[in-house]
């Protein structure tokens, strides 16, 4: 949260996560080199540079595919949320591996000549109309540029100072970047390497990423369109959230007003409070988080808010919108009109002993 910036807000979990990612990358590169040397021998032996190029390129492609799968997969199965938590470090690691691949390719194929390497990259191959000899390096370079922009602006400072909206737009460029990377591989490596399994692997990665996003996206749309029942009382159209015992203790049930944003209705300490489901940090789903130490904790990056007023505990200053709640018998009702962020709202009290 934003009481003051540090380079990285380290915690033991992030250290373990990063150590695992580092270890996996090093292991993959090592194995790739070892197997490559074993398979290609004699007159077909590959130079160390080409082997490293392929190892780094394939590693970056696999990492990007995994990074892109985490979001929709965690929406489909909540057990994957811990992987989502530190996804940004995985994204930066992906950029670093891709950048090494790009730098090595530029140096190996375009460096040490009389022409500037970048100029050589842009002018050596201009067969834009050919599928087989397409300058596949260009989509790769464009994707690398996007990954650079994302990695360079991954710190929370940028989220805050570019505005959350612009930041999200910038980071949604990863989708076209993935399309560019798939084209880079399909028009490059797959044109030169004819083994069926390589084509199958690339197709499987692209299909998994695409399908997961489409499935998770269509479920989210269905949830947004979900039928809700409204109850008229006190000149307010109250939104019926469900029965008290349908909300697990220290957890929330997410309600959705027609055409409106989602509302997270929490039950904690014999009370019911409703706040916006959208975290002020990166829009994480607060209603999928838990109440920890009396504060609603976002499942994405652990930002916290007090359920009764939507304010982050001091010294933090973030706020989310709150909603009026009432309990009618055992039914929980919420007023779908959002109050300004940080507005204190009297919680509805419930008897915990009534739980079935």
């Amino acid at each position: 949260m934003s009481a003051g910036y540090v380079a990285v807000q380290w915690n033991p979990y992030k250290r373990r996560y990063d150590a695992f990612v580092c270890g996996a990358v090093v292991l993959y590169l090592g194995m790739f080199g070892f197997v490559g040397k074993l398979l290609f021998r004699g007159e077909h032996a590959l130079s160390d540079e080409v082997l490293a190029l392929r190892a780094l390129g394939s590693c970056a492609f696999l990492m990007l595919s995994v990074v892109l799968c985490i979001g929709p997969a965690a929406r489909l199965d909540r057990r994957l949320l811990p992987i989502l938590y530190n996804r940004r470090h995985l994204g930066v690691a992906t950029f670093l591996v891709a950048a090494l691949h790009g730098a090595l390719a530029l140096g190996y194929y375009h460096g040490f000549g009389r022409i500037n390497p970048l100029l050589s990259l842009l002018t050596t191959n201009t067969s834009f109309t050919s599928l087989r000899a397409f300058p596949f390096q260009l989509p790769g370079a464009a994707a690398l540029l996007i990954l650079f922009l994302m990695a360079a602006t991954s710190h929370d400072f940028w989220n805050r100072n570019l505005s959350a909206r612009l930041w999200k737009w910038l980071h949604m460029l990863v989708y076209p970047a993935y399309g560019l990377v798939v084209m880079h591989v399909a028009l490059g490596a797959l044109q030169a390497q004819r083994t069926w399994w390589l084509a199958a692997l690339v197709c499987a990665c692209a299909a998994t990423v695409t399908t997961l996003h489409l499935v998770a996206g269509s479920r989210e749309r269905a949830a947004d369109r979900g039928r809700t029942s409204m109850i008229e009382a006190d000149a307010t159209a109250w939104l019926e959230v469900g029965r008290v015992d349908e909300i697990p203790p220290d957890r929330a049930r997410i309600a959705c007003a027609p055409g409106g944003e989602r509302i997270a209705v929490f039950r904690y300490d014999g009370r019911i409070s409703a706040i916006s489901n959208v975290c002020a940090h990166q829009g994480g789903p607060l209603g999928e988080g838990k109440v920890v130490d009396g504060c609603v904790t976002c499942p994405w990056h652990g930002w916290q808010y007090r359920p009764a007023d939507g304010q982050a505990p001091p010294p933090f200053t973030e706020r989310v919108a709150t909603f009026r709640v009432r309990v009618d018998g055992r039914r929980v009702l919420v007023d779908p009109n959002a109050l300004p962020p940080g507005t204190p709202v009297e919680p509805a009290f419930v008897e915990e002993s009534c739980d079935a």
């Binding site: 990285v8 970048l118 940028w158």
Partner: protein
């Protein structure tokens, strides 16, 4: 070829200006733009350097805006 040369030269000029701006921005501009960055350590400043160099026109506008706003208040 001419277009490619122009692209490379423009890119180089943009990057060079960006680098110069970024050094100035992370040393004295960042705390003006965001008070939360006032006590920020050097690790943080180094970490936002590449982004500052890449997005320098945007930050320059914001920095300029913040100094003007600061003068009027």
């Amino acid at each position: 070829m001419v277009v490619a040369e122009a692209v490379v030269i423009l890119l180089a000029v943009y990057a060079l200006l960006g680098l110069l701006f970024a050094v100035a921005f992370v040393t004295c501009g960042v705390q003006r733009l965001d008070p939360a960055a006032r006590p920020a350590p050097w690790g943080f400043r180094l970490l936002i350097l590449p982004g500052s160099a890449a997005l320098w026109p945007l930050l320059l506008l914001r920095w300029w805006g913040s100094t003007k706003g600061g003068a009027s208040s």
